[in-house]
């Protein structure tokens, strides 16, 4: 079986910095994979190259056997790549519900300017129902109509997650979903993510510093440092490797 996401020999430089240095990894359908590594390792840059925010200097990215690395962000999103952002990218001046509604309409892809002008553009009943269902699942129903600026960082991350889910992705890239949450909240988030991704059959690649969350969510992990993958396998195996311990935990082994 071919992998859902296949990254081959990606390379990306910023001036003299090698943010990605020959990175290869793969994610199979319905699989949850962790990506760990110290700050500045190149994790966010890798996400950017997969989702199209940045173009890699070299290498290729395939989604379900189809080469995607020359497509724009929105084309990749339409092919099934959803993501959240380490530094929140919310739609200011829109409520949480509106975030979901616009994503739901994009998923259906049946909106057009012509329909708007014929006064048929407003959210339909079934769209609102689906959105409400997801808001419930995420525990955002109380905050659905609050101004987005009044949400906490953790709630903002949930809105980003909901927006990405509403778009109906095949692969979800989560960039530090638990930062800004306390340990209880992040345990809840782990359960929620596991549940949602299993039920909706979504593969996830998650960047996370909270190893507890990674452990409960991901079947296997990749470890990055200085732009390279320095380890892969189950979390236990990987943390046993001395090179990883040195890079990631700063252990003197």
């Amino acid at each position: 079986m071919t992998a859902l996401l296949e990254v081959r020999n990606l390379r990306k430089r910023f001036g003299g910095i090698r943010a990605l240095d020959d990175v290869s990894l793969e994610v199979r359908a319905n699989e949850a994979v962790g990506l760990i590594g110290p700050n500045g390792a190149g994790k966010t840059t890798l996400f950017d190259c997969i989702s199209g925010v940045q173009r890699a200097d070299r290498g290729r990215v395939d989604l379900a056997g189809e080469r995607i690395d020359d497509l724009g962000v929105y084309r990749r999103a339409r092919l099934g790549i959803g993501r959240t952002f380490q530094r929140l990218e919310l739609f200011s001046a829109m409520t949480a519900r509106e975030h979901m509604l616009v994503a739901e309409r994009e998923r259906r892809g049946d909106g057009s300017l012509l329909k708007d002008l014929l006064w048929k553009g407003a959210p339909r009943r079934d769209e609102i129902a689906r959105v409400d269902e997801l808001l419930d699942e995420l525990g955002l129903e109380e905050l659905a109509d609050a101004p987005i600026e009044s949400l906490s960082l953790g709630q903002g991350r949930l809105v980003e997650l909901g927006r990405a889910l509403m778009r109906g992705p095949r692969l979800l890239l989560l960039d530090e979903p638990s930062s800004g949450l306390d340990s209880l909240e992040s345990a809840r988030l782990a359960a929620l993510l596991r549940d949602i991704c299993e039920r909706r059959q979504i593969a996830t690649l998650v960047v996370e510093h909270d190893l507890e969350l990674v452990h409960s969510l991901a079947q296997r992990v990749y470890v990055m440092d200085f732009g390279s993958i320095i380890g892969a396998g189950t979390l236990e195996d990987v943390l046993g490797e001395s090179s990883v311990r040195r890079a990631y935990l700063g252990d003197e082994v």
């Binding site: 952002f85 990218e89 739609f91 200011s92 329909k115």
Partner: protein, 646 residues
């Protein structure tokens, strides 16, 4: 070769002034994140003060002290303290409107205070403007030119020493990297910011006083045009590097003179290209210099994430009952309004009211573009002009009634909107605003000057239409036509706002990156919204042309674009009511107050404008939203009667 030199040398002093202003722009942009388009106006202010003081018999050195050494930094410090300090973390529109407001208000206040007409033959700072000091390669160099070059060179030297060797200079450089880092290091960031404002304003004042004799008379518009070139110089330095900005400015001054030397004189293209040339350069830099685009799109301060997010420009909504009640009230009011206008209101007022509605249509186009999707256009008057001249020429040559012509005008403007949007697709925020400004200047100086388009200052005549037995030369009939068109435009904007496109636009305005991450195609959406907005503006233009009976290029000059954006921003850019109220306010201020009040009150207008900008900076959601929220809060508090307790 020597001919080229003889063209190039007179460009040097201009280049020096561009360089000084450009460095001021870069300096303040780096330390306080505000792109101060008002430096041209500040240069003008110093030149005027210098003129007045010297005319009143003070020695030149005293005038220099008052106007440049103390006056200019004081003005800069004042602007920073009252205005710009508040906009640092606000969205691009707020920053832009703050500086545009000052660009318009400062010269207006000065002109009212000192009378623009009497300011001819400004005194020179140092060497006599009429004496020829040097002959080089066939060019003569007069006192103004020589002193400008010498003083600028000295200032550049002092600046570079300051940045390398003094503490305040080093701190300014650190501040440019990250203001938050500087405050964390225990340095008074506000103080350093203030110092950079004073220094930049000093440079602007110096530039203004030095160049004034070259203009012959003091007119604010020549100084505003200077800024256009300064922006291009700053862009040449990627808004970062002072040396590159300096050389960019010099090069631009020289290139401008070379261009006007070699282009055939007396043709529209050559006379119009000169004022627009710096912006053509800017447009090129913006489109082809990715580093600059990035720099302008978002700040790259490593600690920028610590800033509070910009305040939302959302609109307040009451409960459903309130909404239904207010909708009923609006329909009733509109009915009463139409009935009164058709019957008892006097003819000249009907004309004025119609003009308000026409401008409401124009403002509606800005609400759609800027309010709903956050894209800033500084060439909206040019879109209006394209519509006006399309309908006008069709009426003139083919006898086409503007009732039909209006649709073609909308289509023509929409097409131009697409043309403007295409090169701007990868620009956002301030960069987009400046690119559209460049287009506006081109349209104004070149596009509208041909006899087949706007016919320049002489303009074209546009007769009122006739439909079956209704003759629209009657003001009441024409009012009704405009009212109907306005209602249709409102319906279109509302339909877009509540539909898929409206939500996509809001998403795009909120975060282009995130919008793309859910599959929205930003490029396509920008083209659509520019076309729609320009189309509506074009329809407004057709109605405007026929209302007055004649239009010329000066009805749609670039300054008007700027005023339009500032007015709608102050009133409220995020709602349809805002457009209507802005139309009323604009026409009231523009025609009624200026024509009907004695002249000594006309300074009230400029003061109101300046005050409006200050209020706006504190309440970026606009006057309409602020007052609506006030009323809503008031209503909500009434029932339980314990408003004071909370």
């Amino acid at each position: 070769m020597s001919q080229a030199l003889s063209y190039a040398i007179p460009g040097l002093p201009y280049g020096c002034v561009f360089a000084l202003l450009g460095m001021g722009l870069v300096l303040t942009y780096q330390t306080s994140d505000v792109f101060n388009l008002a430096f041209g106006a500040q240069a003008y202010a110093s030149a005027v003060v210098f003129f007045i003081v010297v005319r009143d018999g003070w020695p030149v050195w005293a005038g220099f002290l008052v106007a440049v050494v103390f006056g200019a930094p004081l003005l800069g410090a004042l602007l920073q303290a009252v205005l710009y300090r508040h906009v640092r973390t606000q969205p691009p529109l707020v920053k832009l409107v703050a500086s545009l407001g000052m660009l318009i208000a400062i010269p207006a206040v000065l002109e009212v205070a000192f009378g623009a007409d009497q300011l001819i033959n400004p005194p020179s700072l140092w060497l006599s403007p009429s004496a020829i000091y040097l002959h080089a390669a066939g060019a003569t160099i007069d006192g103004t030119e020589l002193s400008t070059v010498v003083v600028t060179a000295a200032v550049a030297l002092l600046l570079s020493l300051m940045f390398h060797f003094t503490q305040i200079g080093l701190r300014m450089q650190a501040m440019a990297e990250s203001p938050r880092m500087v405050s964390l290091a225990g340095v008074n960031a506000e103080g350093v910011g203030l110092a950079s404002w004073m220094l930049s304003s000093f440079l602007a004042g110096l530039a203004g006083v030095m160049l004034a004799p070259a203009f012959g008379g003091l007119q604010s518009i020549s100084f505003t045009d200077l800024l256009v070139a300064a922006v291009a110089a700053a862009a040449a330095g990627s808004l970062k590097s002072l040396p590159w900005t300096f050389f960019g400015g010099i090069l631009l001054g020289v290139a401008e003179e070379l261009l006007s030397g070699y282009l055939p004189s007396g043709e529209i293209l050559s006379s119009g290209l000169r004022p627009a040339f710096p912006f053509v350069v800017l447009l090129g830099l913006l489109v082809f210099l990715p580093r600059l685009r990035k720099r302008w799109a978002r700040s790259d301060d490593p600690l920028a994430g610590c800033d509070p997010p910009p305040a939302p420009l959302s609109s307040s909504t009451g409960g459903p009952l309130f909404r239904r009640a207010s909708r009923g009230t609006i329909v009733l009011l509109a009915g009463a309004f139409v009935a009164s206008t058709m019957t008892w209101i006097s003819g000249s007022w009907v004309f004025t009211i119609t003009e308000m509605l026409v401008f409401a249509i124009v403002f509606l186009s800005i609400v759609l573009l800027t309010g709903m999707s956050g894209q800033i256009s500084l060439c909206q008057a040019a879109f209006v002009g394209v519509g006006a001249f399309t309908a006008g020429q069709l009426a003139d040559h083919f006898g086409l009634s503007i009732i039909v012509g209006m649709f073609l005008a909308g289509a023509a403007s929409a097409a131009v909107g697409v043309v403007v949007a295409l090169p701007s697709l990868r620009l956002g925020g301030l960069a987009l605003a400046l690119a559209t400004l460049a287009f506006g200047l081109l349209a104004d100086n070149i596009g509208f000057q041909y006899s087949w388009s706007g016919n320049g200052q002489s303009g074209i005549n546009v007769p009122r239409p006739q439909l079956a037995s209704i003759n629209f030369t009657s003001n009441r009939a024409y009012f009704l036509l405009v009212f109907v068109v306005l209602c249709v435009c409102i319906a279109v904007v509302r339909a877009v706002a509540r539909g898929t496109t409206g939500r996509q636009l809001a998403a795009l305005g909120g975060s282009e990156l995130a919008a793309a991450s859910i599959g929205i195609n930003p490029a396509r959406l920008k083209i659509i919204v520019f076309a729609l907005s320009a189309g509506i503006a074009g329809v407004g233009g057709a109605l405007y042309a026929s209302l007055d009976g004649s239009v010329s290029s000066s009805d749609f000059n670039t300054l008007i674009s700027l005023v339009l954006v500032v007015v709608i921003a102050i009133v409220g850019v995020s709602s349809i009511e805002g457009a209507i109220e802005a139309g009323v306010a604009y026409v009231l201020l523009n025609t009624v107050l200026t024509n009907d009040l004695p002249t000594q009150y006309s300074s009230l207008l400029e003061l109101a404008f300046g005050a409006g900008v200050i209020v706006y900076v504190l309440h970026p959601e606009g006057v309409v939203e602020v007052s609506k929220r006030f009323v809503l809060d008031h209503l909500r508090r009434q029932p339980d009667g314990n408003g004071l307790a909370t």
